[in-house]
Amino acid sequence: MSSAQQVLAAGPDVLDRPRRPPWRRHLHGSDFAWAIAFVVPYTAVFFGFVVYPVAYGLWMARDPSLYGELIANPLYVKALVNTALYVGIGVNVQMFLALLLSGFFMRRRWWIKALLPVFILPWALPSIPAFVSFHWMLIGEEGLINSLLAALFGVQGPLWFTDRRLALGSNIVAYVWKWLPFWTLTFYAGRTAIPQEIYEAVAVDGAGGCRRFVHVIFPLLGNLYLVCTLLSTLWTIGDFTTVSLVSEGAPAYSTDVLATLGIHYAFDAAQPSLGIAAMMSALPALIPVALILMRALQTRDVQL
């Protein structure tokens, strides 16, 4: 568990103590100058590498006819559906499993504690090796998964990347595999932040596992769950590496998501404006998510 997760998971009750900024009354001359100096590097990065590229991108994709061209393209519509499925299934399955598993890791058994370092290995493994391995594990008949299926059950495994649904499913499984430990540890940190007395009180009242989860754990972790889900949604909508390495968009670009399709347009088809437009068309979905995230973060820390 990293302290990043510990902090992300720490509830408002821990963080909200009365605060009086020392410079509250007036940030006088030199102190004000220093404060400005301290935020200049970040401001420069933000404007130079976020605002400017976004504006440049929007300017490149300003022509409305680009969007007509996109809608008319069946590949784009497919990529849109794929992105929705990939994010919708991937993020939710991952978050729900992470929430359940974090409870499992709270159990005091040595074999569960011993599992934890192995369980976080996918997170420590860089994504290129991980996804390349997934690709080779699934491809053809000599892949590990299909030879396992043949040896253990005598079944001939499917060709994973010739069927759109199987290929999309493979991408989602690889994605969940890579990021499940990160979120599990975040929720684990969140659970450890719940005072022990609450568990004891619940135990005295005789609430079982299920009722404890629904009436105690979930309400307490609800906001953390929301923040993590939104953050993960934003990160997943822009995910390029998983799809580009696991299924490579196969069969015939039918599992491409917006990010891989946009890059494909821009660099393989030499139509950068079209590529940008394909990606920027996700903005109507991204902005509301970011706004809700901002709200959710603010309810966690009222003092701002």
Binding site: M1, S2, S3, A4, V7, L8, V14, L15, P21, P22, W23, L27, W34, A35, I36, F38, V39, Y42, V45, F46, F49, V50, P53, Y56, F104, R107, W111, L121, A124, L125, P126, S127, I128, P129, V132, S133, H135, W136, M137, L144, S147, L234, W235, G238, D239, T241, A259, I263, P272, I276, M279, L283, L286, I287, V289, A290, M294, L297, D301, L304
Partner: protein
Amino acid sequence: MSGGPTSGGAVPWPRDRLRLRRILTEVASVILVAVLLIWSLVPVYNMLLIALDPDDGDIEFEGLFWPPDPSLHSFRAVLTQGYWLLEDFWHQFGNSVFIGLMTMLLTVLIGSLASFALGRMRLSRGWLLVNAPVLTYAVPASFLVIPFSRLMASYGLSNSLWAIIAANVTFATPYAILILRQYAKLIPLELDEAAQMDGASPVQLYRRVYLPLMAPALAAVGTYALLLAWNEYLYQYVLLSSTRNMTVAVAIAQFFNSDEAPVNYMMAAAIIYSLPPIVIFYALRRYMAAGLTRGAVKG
């Protein structure tokens, strides 16, 4: 246990059932551990399996879960750069390390400066900057790669490692600021006030009070930035074109996209590439966990 004795023979029932339930729970948890172990290790095992294959060609398992005569031949090929796609492997490895370390340093520096100014000093329009990190995530990194590459070309930074570092820092700092600001709330402001009474300037406050107390969070954020740099592939793929300036991530992807390149060499390179972050991650995990005792700076 609460069920009262209704008639003589029915007394031990609830206890038996309780015991049975406990045993079942234990069995289920052992099974779950086994499943999670297999789930976590199969793709890693697959890498090893392919890398140990002695053939230079394609993989052929034919139901074998261990190569008939495993060899370290492919690892030797990578270590000695004995294949044309691996010619600059160690140079490229150095590039990856350089990008990772610079991303880490700059993220920690920029993130800690900004979080200090925003959290500890009262900036009148501070909330604007506080929301900027979240806004950054409204547009995913991959969506910006096209304008970013054009921009870098106009700055004369195309095919430069610094372009990659700039991109990594851009997308690592928001999360860093988020985490650092939350963690900083655990440090009482009275400390700052006391230091100010003693005449400490903002710079001294930052260096002598803020940075030392924030060490665990800085380590966590630094590791996050390093792992982000090590995970990143798209910007390196788009921006770095010459073999000398490539990183290992791009080199592996080159293998991946080539039809006749030996898979076992690629997997050996991938395993070697995976080692540094895994070592750093597990080494720092302990240190970070030690910093988790949030009561350490109770006000």
